[in-house]
Symmetry: C2
Subunit: 146 residues, 2 copies
DNA sequence: ATCCGTGCAAAGTATTTGCAACCTA
DNA sequence: TAGGTTGCAAATACTTTGCACGGAT
């Protein structure tokens, strides 16, 4: 079993919530598709391939739980459905994406690029920033050549 | 009549779409509430105060139209409903907001702060950026004092 | 007369909730 | 065993669509 799978399961165990078969399966799926930004329905589709008895409501409830525990992050890219991804370990402050309007692929930008900017804004607007979200829209290399 | 109201109406007139009573009323409302980031339902509520016969579907259709014409922008702040604001004149490239998790108020950040960053990313990821969206979450001055 | 625009109601999509049965710690 | 958890179906929330009527050119 992958390290991050075990880590996530242990975090559920340490919480006041139970690690059920359904939750395990959903965590496995999320780890296996890391970097893909799946929607609840897509996760449901994958999960039911191996465990057809799991209900969509359970997927939603589990995703909520995992967000609460900080194991995953929920993001809305404006396409009308929420998308989920494993939280960056050790940091809950990096949500940068490149979104291609051609093929829809979402690429992670690894670094936190905004620290300087944040200090400036905090001063200028008297606002205490705890998190941010940054998305760039455009066209990726392969869609530009079409 | 406010200048931006007239400007918006002229842009509709110049398009292949008609400037109807309903569309005028909706534009007026959007100009009157500039800076408030209203949802479709909220706009509908305001519009029907003065023109109770306007339907919710018309509000949605008109908002779509105004987005298409570049008169307003549609943004999703992740609260499950779309929000609309007048487009920044002369620039379609500035979507920066400070969102207070205490009172929910959304403050505009005026400047486009990301030009340098964009050049770097375009090179690094071979991605042609056409737009971006930047949101900061935290607490505003008055919510911090609670 | 034509064609766009409208209101209404129905449909659609994403997500949440009530509840009895079930399962895990 | 006790209480969290589940599947199902129904409910909810937001948005879109079908359609016949209405209005402007």
């Amino acid at each position: 079993m992958e390290r991050s799978t075990r880590e996530a399961m242990e975090r559920v165990n340490r919480s006041r919530y139970k690690l059920t078969r359904q939750r395990s399966k959903i965590i496995e799926t999320l780890v296996a598709t890391a970097g893909e930004h799946l929607s609840a329905e897509e996760i449901y589709g994958l999960v039911t391939l191996e465990a057809p008895d799991i209900g969509l409501a359970t997927v939603y409830r589990t995703l909520d739980l995992l967000v609460t525990l900080g194991i995953i992050e929920k993001t809305d890219f404006g396409d009308g459905r929420a998308r989920y991804e494993l939280a960056s370990p050790g940091d809950d402050h990096r949500h940068h994406h490149l979104i291609c309007s051609g093929c829809g692929i979402i690429t992670e930008v690894k670094d936190d690029l905004l620290d300087d900017l944040e200090s400036t804004l905090e001063r200028e607007y008297d606002f205490c920033i705890t998190d941010h979200r940054l998305e760039f829209y455009g066209r990726c290399a392969s869609c530009r050549s079409d």
